[in-house]
């Protein structure tokens, strides 16, 4: 194979970065496949799939500084929280609802991420509420003159909520160190983008006094490049950015949804031809970072790690019902 054009060096990415990014994408994909398997076996009542979004999530998350920057994700962001610090075992502890689930100790549905240790702000099910929290954290960072940046992620459906518009407005007015990342997969459960968004998501940025860009969310380097520029601008005090990373989800919205009722098999198959993982493998091979043997080896290693994480989580303890009244308040007992 002829050596392809190097796109990563000018982005400041080293070979080790590429390999790690690839590993996170694989980990997310294999976690997803395993959670669907567990769902079919009746061991996991509820699954929120990530497959298809790995490049958008890993590429955008990679632009942030872990330990300093703050993440306000949404439920689709399995790959993103892996980059932020979750392990596969953490993911499966949440999937089963085990006591050591770092997000909620088994209180929330799976994929409602949160961990103060990893600077991931606890999330909920109502759509786009986290976007306002991100604006509040970003305002705090600005008032305290810290150079941390906040990232918040959502689907194109989330851009319909008032919370989203309020956060965009606040961020624009106060030039907050905040990056808005829309993972546009064209469907909010069943409702197509054409019935969800008047105009284009990224063009809404103009109305809120900030730049907006769209990019190929199936391309991890493109996702990284756009987000890195936005994070750099935010850190330099130049304000927020709205990014629209276009991608596709390969499975239904959740395990309780059936996507055959609103999109064709042909459309899904067509989208899978733009699967971000094989696309990145091709790139890694053409720039001689990995070869087929190394890729096969990494796939095996990652699969094993995911399986081990799932197994450990499955064997972990359930939460004790006697703890269910804890943490309603810091200082009050409830009945």
């Amino acid at each position: 194979m002829a050596k392809g054009k190097d796109r990563h060096t000018e982005l400041g990415l080293k070979e080790e970065d590429l390999i790690e990014m690839y590993r996170y994408m694989l980990t997310a994909r294999f976690c997803d496949e395993r959670q669907w398997g567990l769902n079919r076996m009746g061991k996991a009542p509820f699954v929120v799939p990530v497959s298809g979004h790995e490049a958008a999530q890993v590429g955008s998350a990679w632009a942030f500084e872990r330990g300093k920057d703050v993440f306000c994700p949404y439920y689709r962001d399995l790959a993103l929280v892996l980059v932020a610090g979750f392990t596969p075992k953490d993911v499966f502890l949440g999937l089963f609802g085990k006591a050591d689930d770092p997000s909620s100790g088994g209180r929330q549905m799976p994929a409602h991420w949160g961990s103060s240790r990893h600077n991931i702000v606890t999330g909920s099910s109502p759509i786009a509420t986290q976007v306002l929290h991100a604006a509040g954290v970003a305002l705090a960072k600005k008032l305290k003159k810290e150079d941390a940046v906040v990232g918040t992620w959502f689907g194109e459906g989330g851009t319909s909520e008032g919370d989203w518009h309020g956060a965009m407005n606040m961020a624009g007015i106060h030039k907050l160190p905040l990056v808005f990342v829309c993972e546009n997969n064209q469907y909010a459960i069943s409702v197509h983008e054409s019935k969800q968004v008047a105009g284009r998501v990224f063009e809404r940025a103009k109305g809120y006094g900030m730049p907006g860009y769209e990019g190929d969310g199936n391309d991890v380097l493109e996702s990284y490049r756009l987000t890195k520029d936005a994070v750099d601008r935010a850190r330099a005090g130049e304000g927020p950015t709205l990014l629209e990373l276009r991608t596709y989800r390969f499975y239904s919205h959740t395990s309780d949804d059936d996507d055959r009722t609103y999109r064709t098999k042909e459309e899904v198959e067509e989208a899978k031809r733009r699967d971000p993982i094989p696309a990145f493998e091709t790139y890694l091979k053409t720039v001689d970072v990995l070869d087929d043997d190394k890729i096969a080896q990494m796939r095996e290693e990652t699969k094993t790690l995911v399986s081990e994480g799932a197994k450990e989580a499955e064997e972990a303890d359930w939460p004790d019902p006697s703890t269910a009244t804890r943490h309603v308040y810091a200082d009050l007992e409830v009945e």
Binding site: S124, L132, G166
Partner: protein, 333 residues
């Protein structure tokens, strides 16, 4: 309560202003945000002079978006600041309902204690100010229903200060309700030193052995007046100011009922499913055999909100005459 005895007479709104001002001077993590809190100093003047003293970073005029006010305040608290959010009128808090109830109230529980939100939400509420449907509402029942929130409604300047400081020290979200009619009507001695009043402690504002009368907000003052009228006839009413609606101090209520055997609850919120319903239910559950008369509730009528015209507003609000009449009836039962 006062340590060195120094105290000043003030009304409720001046007390809230001064308390917040002093606390912002004391703790630079405190920021206020809301509509018109900056240049205008708040439509009720609670943040008058704040912008000049503390600057735009700590006195934040927000866009006209109550959902934003609640959501941004949550984010500020997540990152270690001590936000005090003002909802200009309680009637307008509802665009923020989702953020307050689904987010603020559930942050600690849903993260298994990993996140907590020290967050104060101030909201002027209540009627009798010619505010009609959308500037008169009592909103406490919606929020007191939600585990994870604390809801308080002080009625006097003394309590307004101690409970505001308690709210600002509290590790969890507190909805701090300020009855608009009491703002300038009710005056009292306010100690100059810093003090807090723990939540979940009702206050017996008048002692008596014949009837227990439970109230808060403007109605507390109506009840006190009615009780003093009855005292002339030898009927002694014990008037309890709940102050804290959640946590609710039923011990004080039950102890009083044990003494008087008669209880009435007065509130201007809709009678149906209001605070009085909870107090009445708990009295029935826990003190049934202490009772020597029916549990009486006086509450707002079941119309969507308070109408404007003076005659209609008077019709809506429980007044001293009506409360006196019901008190007398219960005492003589």
């Amino acid at each position: 309560m006062a340590g060195n005895g120094a105290a000043t007479e003030k009304n409720v709104v001046q007390t809230i202003h001064d308390t917040l001002f002093e606390e912002m001077k004391r703790d630079d993590r405190v920021v206020v945000l809301g509509e018109d809190v900056g240049a205008r100093g708040g439509v009720f003047r609670v943040t008058h002079g704040f912008l000049k003293e503390f600057g735009e970073d700590r006195v934040i005029d927000t866009p006209l978006d109550e959902c934003l006010i609640a959501g941004v305040a949550i984010g500020l608290a997540v990152d270690g600041l001590r936000p005090v959010a003002e909802f200009q009128f309680a009637d307008f808090i509802f665009p923020g309902f989702n953020q307050i109830v689904q987010e603020a109230a559930r942050f600690r529980y849903r993260s298994n204690g990993d996140f907590g939100l020290p967050l104060v939400m101030r909201a002027p509420y209540g009627g009798g100010v010619h505010g009609a449907l959308y500037h008169s509402q009592s909103i406490e029942a919606f929020f007191a229903h939600v585990p994870g929130l604390k809801v308080v409604a002080p009625s006097t300047p003394h309590d307004a200060k101690g409970m505001l400081l308690q709210a600002m020290d509290d590790p969890d979200p507190v909805l701090y309700l300020e009855h608009k009619k009491t703002y300038r009507l009710i005056k009292g001695e306010v100690p100059e030193e810093r003090y807090t009043i723990p939540f979940g402690k009702a206050d017996i504002k008048r002692e008596g052995n014949d009837v227990t009368c439970v109230a808060y907000g403007l109605m507390l003052h109506h009840c006190l007046e009615a009780a003093s009228r009855l005292a002339g006839d030898g009927i002694e009413v014990e008037v309890i100011d709940l102050r804290s609606l959640y946590p609710l101090d039923m011990d004080t209520v039950l102890e009083s009922v044990g003494k008087t055997s008669k209880v009435m609850i007065v509130y201007e919120d809709n009678k149906f499913l209001g605070l009085g319903a909870e107090v009445a239910a708990q009295v029935a559950e826990k003190a049934m055999f202490d009772l020597d008369g029916p549990i009486v509730r006086i509450g707002g009528p079941h119309v969507p909100a308070m109408p404007y015209s003076p005659s209609l507003e008077r019709w809506f609000l429980p007044d001293v005459d009506r409360i006196e009449q019901e008190m007398r009836k219960l005492a003589e039962f």
